[in-house]
């Protein structure tokens, strides 16, 4: 099958910390120590208050940032930099406006071993997967936000990654589009069985999507709590079970958010 050679890999985050040095010479602990073991093909969702370092964590997983201490293993390989094997969906879509929809999805496929023809076949296959095959030759500027993010999802899956990093991918979308894309993402994830690390502000989104939810503490971000969500999909977000979980997570998040404003704490951002 085209574009489905890979499977999800295990991702081990081992005693990771990130400390920033400010210009005045002090160092600010942004993250950790954090240790997480993400099973292969698991859908992991991380929620946390603003400024808790969850984006920093994702940047480290992507290979854009080096951790101060600790390491991350993909399978058995430590992360040394960005890799096409760890694909990414960004909140602001990050599509290339000078390329057509199809060319955007083809972007990651420009390697010698893939012919031009195969490249557009793979890209079209993934556009079909997100229902945008008829928009292949459009400019990305002509698309709505929800359509742009579908193109970004197609681009991210087209490179056949073993790990998918998603940085608040639906944060900029309206509620209805968001619901729709959540469903589509679950369908694609179910078909492709990749490991997903998904960051969000939305507790409801976390519960709807996740195999496991991690709640992060206020800065420096650590794992404050963890839930396995066992309810079968598609989940009814109005069910009592979900509502109860939502209440528990909100209670924790409220506690952590308040810490940001507690006397003596550093205000993030």
């Amino acid at each position: 099958m085209m574009g489905t050679n890979n499977t999800g890999k295990r991702l081990r985050i081992d005693r990771l910390t990130k400390t920033y040095d400010t210009r005045s010479g002090e160092s600010i602990a942004a993250l950790g120590p954090i240790s997480v073991d993400v099973k292969s093909s698991e859908f992991l969702v991380i929620v946390g208050p603003t400024g808790c370092g969850k984006s920093t964590l994702l940047q480290i997983l992507a290979g854009f940032l080096k951790p101060t201490e600790g390491q991350v293993l993909v399978g058995d390989e430590p992360i040394t930099g960005p890799s096409i094997d760890r694909s990414m969906v960004f909140q602001s879509y990050a599509l290339f406006p000078w390329l057509s929809v199809l060319e955007n999805v083809e972007f990651g496929l420009q390697r010698k071993e893939i012919s031009r023809r195969q490249r557009s076949e793979i890209a079209l296959h993934h556009l079909r997967m997100v229902g945008l095959q008829d928009f292949a030759n459009k400019s990305v500027d002509e698309l709505s936000g929800g359509m742009k993010q579908r193109v970004a999802i197609a681009r991210a899956f087209a490179v056949d990654p073993s790990i998918m990093l998603m940085d608040e991918p639906f944060g900029a979308l309206d509620a209805l589009t968001r619901r729709l894309l959540q469903r589509e993402l679950l369908r694609i994830w179910h078909e492709q069985q990749r490991t997903v690390v998904f960051i969000t502000h939305s507790v409801e989104e976390a519960i709807f999507l996740a195999d496991r939810i991690l709640v992060m503490s206020a800065r420096p971000g650590r794992i404050r709590a963890e839930w396995n969500v066992t309810a079968s999909r598609p989940r009814d977000v109005t069910s009592d079970e979900v509502r109860q979980l939502e209440r528990q997570i909100y209670a924790l998040l409220d506690e952590e958010l308040l810490k940001n404003f507690a006397p003596g704490s550093r205000t993030p951002e």
Binding site: A62, G63, F64, G81, P82, S83, I84, R86, S87, M88, F90, S92, A94, L95, F96, P97, W98, L99, S100, E103, F107, G108, L109, Q110, R111, N137, K138, S139, V140, D141, E142, R155, V159
Partner: protein, 258 residues
């Protein structure tokens, strides 16, 4: 249905410019009718229309326009060939920018017009001197907007480029930085064409036997204000049309890929 009226809507956008042109002519005619100046100081619009027809028929206007335009286009292309690569490199290398920037900032305040005397001393009144002046006038706008274009590339696009296979700096530069900076480069080219057009007229005023600048300088020498005004109107209308063309090209570029 809407598309049937699209040409009409486009024409409607040109209307304010037509009104402004008419207003200028009306005020001009009023000034002439009220103050009755010597035709060598301010001829009526009708005299200028006659002179325009004359210069058009005997080919002088066409030849002068072609000379001015050829000089600008040549020098502008030369500028682009040097300034775009240099700007792309300066935008992506802080070290290079630190070295080149002081030269840019020291030379840039010297108007291209201030270079005309040196251009004449160095190159005489041949073509190279005028090309040189226009080169100076077009170089900095292209360079600066190219540098800005590179520096303002959205960092998230660089991240996306790196995730999706641009493993070396060179690949990232070629596949993401350069195309992302292009709209800003096109703005630089447009602005530069305008400054180049202004510079060539000035250079031709001082040292030329051809070109629209020469046409108006010569009109002044022989006390023919009608010729001067024909030249000025040609300069204005052409400058306006070039700019409109570049704006159109810019819009087309930003919508590429359909």
């Amino acid at each position: 249905m809407a598309s049937r009226f699209a040409p009409l809507a486009k024409a409607a956008r040109a209307l304010p410019f037509v009104y402004a042109a008419i207003a200028i002519v009306v005020v001009w005619q009023l000034v002439v009718s009220v103050t009755k100046p010597e035709p060598s100081v301010l001829p009526p619009p009708s005299a200028v229309v006659i002179a325009f027809g004359h210069l058009l028929r005997n080919g002088e206007l066409g030849v002068d326009t072609a000379y001015s335009l050829a000089r600008v286009v040549f020098a502008w292309l030369l500028s682009a060939v040097v300034a775009i690569p240099l700007g792309l490199l300066m935008g992506s290398s802080q070290r290079l920018e630190r070295i080149v920037n002081p030269f840019v900032e020291l030379l840039r305040p010297i108007s291209p017009l201030a270079w005309i005397p040196m251009a004449i001393l160095w190159f005489g009144i041949g073509e190279s001197g005028k090309i040189f002046v226009v080169f100076i006038g077009t170089f900095f706008p292209i360079l600066l907007s190219t540098v800005a274009g590179v520096k303002e590339v959205d960092p998230v696009l660089l991240h996306a480029g790196r995730v999706f296979g641009c493993t070396s700096r060179a690949t990232l530069f070629r596949r993401v930085v350069v195309p992302a900076a292009m709209p800003s480069v096109v703005v630089g080219l447009r602005v530069a064409f305008g400054t180049g057009w202004a510079a060539i007229i000035a250079a031709e005023l001082v040292a030329a036997h051809t070109g629209l600048g020469y046409l108006i300088a010569n009109g002044m020498d022989v006390l023919r204000a009608d010729l001067v005004l024909v030249g000025m109107i040609a300069i204005g209308v052409l400058g306006f049309l070039f700019d409109a063309f570049f704006r159109y090209a810019q819009r087309r570029y930003s919508r590429r890929g359909r």
